[in-house]
């Protein structure tokens, strides 16, 4: 059964003069114990998608339609009180700069037990301590971290604390929004392996939001590529990264310098993101696409299944894959 099912999700940022469509008809499903990576450049709507699942978008300036069904519960339009019941317990998140999401004046111990007491209000101090130490050991942190302040920890350790926090109640889904982006190479790789290991031992379902293909490649089983608020291609990581079908995915892949093999020349994608406040009748990628034709500019390609479990939003998926 799918843990999370997003159907026809539209998220609009409403301003005085214009509206920006940040998520445009997004359909996505996450199975239990699965891992999905959402990749895209900045402004592609991947963080908006995460925020709309977590219910963190400001209600006064955003307009959300569609359905986000999370374990049978529709998250769109859910009240703050109802969200409070599932946050941390069923749904939790790790953000990029954990340094900023922790209180600098409270010890880690206090911050862990505070969250624990949201859902277990009558927990005693010794219970909290026991739980916190078990949690820290899950993410390979020494027990001394319990009595430290966030500024005494390095970036990698703080990120581990954040991951520990989101695992506290064994939530049904964790969302990692650029959780490893600000880290150094060695620390990033350690944290990624930690996350993959936890997936096996703790049976977590996770959604990784990143702009880095390499992160998805080393830690996710499935991937969805987003561009200008729409999902361009989704399917198994091994398939998509090996033989991308959508021209945008292809372009993105050839923009990443490879580490092994030949130093083939890098090619970028010419042009830049379209203005999302102007509605486009055709494919959003058409202005930058090397294979775009009349049909692409006037009709919108649907996200259709070309192979089992592999969906592409392009009229000419095969041509995109040839060149």
């Amino acid at each position: 059964m799918a843990v999370l099912k997003i159907q026809n999700l539209n998220v609009r940022y409403v301003m005085k003069e214009r509206q920006v469509l940040a998520c445009d008809d997004v359909n996505l499903e996450i199975e239990e114990q699965d891992s999905i990576g959402i990749v895209g450049e900045s402004g592609s709507g991947k963080s908006t998608l995460a925020m709309s699942i977590l219910g963190l978008l400001p209600k006064s300036t955003t307009q959300t339609d569609g359905e986000i069904s999370f374990q049978g519960l529709n998250l769109v339009g859910l009240s703050e009180a109802e969200y409070a019941k599932i946050r941390w317990k069923e749904l939790s998140a790790v953000f990029q700069k954990s340094m900023n999401s922790m209180s600098p004046v409270h010890k880690i111990s206090r911050q862990i037990s505070d969250i624990y007491r949201i859902h277990v209000p009558k927990a005693t101090d010794s219970e909290c301590r026991e739980m916190a130490l078990a949690l820290l050991s899950k993410v390979n942190l020494p027990p001394r971290v319990y009595d430290l302040y966030p500024h005494q920890l390095s970036g990698g350790m703080i990120q581990r604390v954040s991951i520990a926090l989101c695992l506290m109640f064994n939530p049904a889904l964790i969302i990692l929004d650029e959780a490893t982006t600000a880290l150094d190479v060695v620390t990033e790789s350690q944290i990624l392996r930690e996350i993959v290991r936890l997936q096996e031992t703790e049976k977590v379902t996770r959604m990784m939001i990143t702009h880095n293909m390499a992160v998805v490649s080393s830690s996710c089983r499935k991937v969805a590529v987003m561009y200008a608020g729409r999902i361009m291609e989704s399917g198994r990581t091994a398939d998509i990264l090996k033989r991308p079908k959508h021209p945008y995915t292809k372009g993105l892949m050839s923009s990443f310098p490879s580490f092994t093999g030949d130093r083939q020349s890098l090619r970028g994608i010419p042009g830049s993101l379209p203005d999302l406040s102007v509605s486009m009748p055709g494919c959003v990628f058409a202005p930058r696409c090397p294979h775009a034709c009349e049909k692409c500019r006037s009709q919108r390609p649907e996200l259709l299944e070309t192979d089992p479990g592999w969906k592409v939003a392009c009229f000419f998926p095969e041509e995109g894959g040839v060149s």
Binding site: N212, A214, S217, A238, S254, S258, T260
Partner: protein, 343 residues
Amino acid sequence: MSDVKMPVLQVVDAVKHYKQKTLTAADGKKLKNQVVKAVDGVSFELDQGEILGIIGESGCGKSTLGRLLVKLEPLTRGDIRINGKSVCGVNTAKKNERLFFRRTVQLIFQNPFECVDPRETIEKVLMTPLRLHAIGADDDERRKICLEALETAGMRPAEDFLMRYPYELSGGQLQRISIMRSMILNPSFIVADEAISMLDVSIRADILNLLEEQTKQKKACMVFISHDIATTRYISNKVAVMYLGRIVEFGKTDDVMHNPIHPYTRALISNSASIDPEEKRQFIDIKGEPPSPIGTGPGCYFAPRCYMCGERCSTEYPPMTDNGNGHCFSCFYQKQNEKELAQ
């Protein structure tokens, strides 16, 4: 003129120490008069048209080195020579000397929005350096140079861009302008400090290609500072790996990337994520986080985290050794490493 080829850039034992009056150690003790060894004895040479990539974790001193090279910070010790002439004697308070120095050396920063005046048009941004250095006879000629530069950077039609303001451009476009602003002075040496880190992946490639092409064309040399190993591999001819203010390995890009000898380089390369999902790799784990560059030594700086640290490592710093083809490293156990590689 002598026939002996003169390297464009020579760095001889560059040292930058910052003094700190009081410092709180990890255990809460206050330490007095500590020295932060940000750059601690770095030497290398660069020839015309060469690109040197400097990689390392944050806090290893790569950006400080970049700032030293363009004299944004004074050296504590050592010497930097450009075209054979020491830059330490250049007095940047004197206008003539400063102008001459700035014309030979240019810097490209990470965030282009922070290095242009938001109230100036692109025309003014590009014309100011030309005017300052009296390039071109009059403004018409200078405008022509600017238009040409914009065309080379792939920004067409160039006339359209001249009248725009920085906020009307995307990050990638503005980064091109900041590159061209440096390049129209025909510098002999450029430092690019994380020049593509904040750009989107799909435009990074074009900026990289522009940087490489311009460096080759203007016969300059470039120091490319980055934490992204795959990008550095793509653009550079030579690579230097830094750890706590020192270069631990230096050599041709392919040598260093495919046959890394220093344990730190090997760990760094084995941990950098690849986009190939089927690639099976062996991770070399290093313990802990990089320590602070205070009170390092006397042994190898990497020894506390090294997986093959021996007795000698904690008593003396391994000297830089060359294995014949310009591939240098500072580790006592290179023989052992090479043997492992051969297997």
